[in-house]
């Protein structure tokens, strides 16, 4: 059963456990590959993760002159192949979310691969495994659909996917403000 990374931004507490866990994935050379931002640090403690959304038609791969960015059969947009990457950094500019990171010493781009050694076998990526708040979850499409029904926002912009952001993404994102749609018990 195919599962996807699903983000509920409203849950984030800024613990950056996802980043710590990212360094623990076997294939990640102990470097974290995503971001957590303080949204408005002088005002409140709101934070949000910025994860690779694994675009269906990824700008990073399209921009790569060396075809170093492969797309796995699961839809995961992989990190640059060491033997192909020429270090041009096109991808870091092309990505609308600023996801790919660059290692100047190795002259190599590296990015989130959804912990492909885990997710190819249905094991959740490290970030979604450890996330203490369920900001990051690993769900089936049915579970995501149930979420969509549960949080029925009137603006229709429930997830960041076509036509709201750059293009269709494999990762589903639930925008902040979701609790607006919840009916209180009493």
């Amino acid at each position: 059963m195919k599962k996807r990374l699903y983000l509920e931004l409203e849950n984030c507490i800024g613990c950056r456990s996802c980043l710590a866990a990212c360094t623990q994935c076997g294939g990640h050379e102990e470097r974290n590959r995503n971001y957590v931002y303080d949204v408005n640090p002088l005002v409140n403690r709101q934070t949000m993760p910025l994860m690779c959304l694994h675009c269906v038609n990824p700008a990073c791969a399209r921009s790569c002159p060396a075809q170093a960015i492969q797309i796995h059969e699961t839809g995961a947009v992989l990190s640059a192949l060491v033997e192909k990457c020429i270090g041009c950094q096109n991808c870091t500019i092309a990505c609308p979310y600023g996801i790919p990171k660059f290692d100047t010493e190795q002259n190599l781009m590296y990015k989130c691969d959804l912990c492909i050694d885990r997710s190819k076998d249905g094991i959740p990526p490290m970030c979604a495994s450890v996330c203490p708040t369920n900001t990051l979850q690993w769900l089936t499409d049915e579970e995501i659909e149930a979420k969509q029904k549960q949080f029925n926002l009137d603006n229709g912009k429930w997830v960041t996917s076509m036509p709201y952001l750059e293009g269709e993404t494999n990762v589903r994102v639930n925008l902040p403000g979701i609790l607006q749609g919840v009916t209180k018990l009493f």
């Binding site: 409203e10 849950n11 507490i13 800024g14 613990c15 950056r16 456990s17 980043l19 710590a20 866990a21 360094t23 623990q24 076997g26 640090p41 002088l42 005002v43 409140n44 403690r45 709101q46 934070t47 050694d117 885990r118 076998d121 249905g122 094991i123 959740p124 490290m126 495994s129 450890v130 996330c131 203490p132 708040t133 369920n134 549960q150 949080f151 609790l179 919840v182 009916t183 209180k184 018990l185 009493f186």
Partner: protein
Amino acid sequence: MQMDNFRNERDQYFKEIDNLNHPNETLVKTHCSYCAMQCGMNLRVKTKTNKIIGVEPRYDWPVTLGKMCPKGVTAYQQVNNKDRLLKPLIRDDQSLKGTTNGFREASWDEAYDLIVKKFTELQENYGKDSLSVYSGVSMTNEKCYLTGKFARVGLQTRYIDYNGRFCMASAAGGLNRSLGIDRGSTIPWTDIQDTDCIFLAGSNTAECHPTMMFRVWAIQERGGYVIVADPRETPVARRADLHLDLRPGTDLALANGIVNLLIQKGHIDEEFIKNHSNGFEDTKELVKQFTPEYTSAITGVAPEKIIRAAEIYGKAPNAIVMFARGIEQQIKGVDNVSGYTNMALVTGKIGRAKSGVATITGQGNGQGGREHGQKADALPGYRKIANPDHVKYISKVWGIEPEEMPKEGVSAFEMFGLMEQKTIRALYLLCSNPAVSAPDQNYVREQLKNLDFMVCVDFFLSESAEFADVVLPTTTWAEDEGTTTNVEGRIIKINQAQMPLGESKPDWQIQVELTERMGRGKYFSHLKTSEDIFNELRVASKGGTADYYGVTWEKIDKQDGVFWPCKDENDPGTPRLFLDKKFNHPDGRAKIFALPYRPSAEEPDEEYPLRLTTGRVVYHYLSGNQTRRIQFLRDMCPEPFVEVHPETAAKYNIDHEELVRLYTRRGETTYQVKITEAIRKDTVFVPYHWGHEKSINLLTIGALDPYSRMPEFKTCAAQIEKLKIKKVQ
């Protein structure tokens, strides 16, 4: 209940997930070394070399389901850390105390010989009680239990106490007084998501106990309510339905104000009050004074918010009141605990699933460690030294005469007073770092220097070890096995993943070997393994309030932990307390306490107009001795800071990231300013995880709660001074 196939509840979040097994690695199931959430984890161990190399989520642990905070994810990096102490250290030159200088490596034999010689000399010259033991609860029940016996039977001193005085003592005092039993939670954590209202008082839950947050948020997703009482808009307060932004140190007024409204608005459960409690009428009379306006004047919380909080809690079919150090580290910490517990008692929202009261325990074994005799007045099984029957029972288990049992000692902070008076002349310190964690550091460090002889047992050279004459290297949690009792009161198993590094030894082994050399071996030599100690603990706790007799390591494994009390082999344990509405006071009733409000030990004045409060950040644990050595955590939060509201900052003409002098009547230090609207204008906040000149405890006050003897870390009067230096580069 059928014991054969009993297993503690798994909730709607439980999923069967395979782990990733890397080739040539073994996964060892265990729990985190840090807080009392005791998150389940698998340690990845290189099979051939027996080295811990990483972490893998433990999806099948029903409380945390693989979730971990950044401390948990990186916890394994303590084990083979370059700072580990691998051999005993001796320092001959006492003038170097308080520094890292002058230590030389020594053999265990030499270190033991020196300790035995010094301890014996001091006891011959100044009496048995010239020695003291200062312990902690970030270690297993086996170690906590043995440390109590080590002090009283091995060293024969009355002076033993532990760092729980800075952590759980007020919760223990309040829960004992109100409910007759101190098990931190009346319900399992798997109930939280299904309640209708959670009232969190003085708990920065998101940063201090992150892995319960998915349950807290789930309450809101179902349409339930989250109410937070905290001087700061913490990450959990930010999304709460209601944030009661009270002045530090005014919790009791807020609790009384809410209880008053619960009574006035008819949210009380008369049947429960009549049949299962005492003290309602007195309390009703006392809280009358705490109208929303009067409560607001003391707490600074708007009257409408107080009214709304009482309305939500009162109307909720099920509700949980939870609190933590914010309300407990005050000179009225015990009263605050009883005050908030009153909310549950007057409404009868206790003694059933999804409703109850809990303190969110700080240290990993903060629960178990306070039950088995490390406390100055306590013996295993939550027995009391003041009770002759209790002394008689434990003496028999230990093989001593009741007359040989030392009397009650004094609390942790009061031990420093006895060091000053030279009543206490030597200290055996383990599992704690009071040179960072105790209040009024200038005073405390002077007393540590004043000791004739000090032993520190640790796996890193902590700030406190800098005052020691002998430092003994112990193991980290992953190099030994044993049990801890988590935030819920669930006894769980810590497993060994790696052999002890270097020459380090587990604390229990050090204590057994030392007592043998002090001629007390006959009481200790039979304890060859950690499980031997657990089995003695079971007998010692039998018949006590915290009864572990029916718990075995095997049962823990089979049932996903065992909730105490667990009285015999056929008892699966007690996940929920008071289901029969029988409380643990002799008459079976809970006590509703009438608690007059009193101000903090040091209220702000003209000279010191700000309230200083302290706490944690998500990246560090307690004194930071462990977490400051881990790269990821250090990168995320390298330095302490002072949080100031922008309007307050404007008054002092200070900017974001500017260095300021922060001072109180006891001390001063310099911090970088972090400007945020998420704090009260009259309050400043500093995290307490750093030592030496960066320690905020140079400024905090050593005023103690009269019952729990817990210092008032959470509020004192302070002042800020603008410095000429603009920024650190």
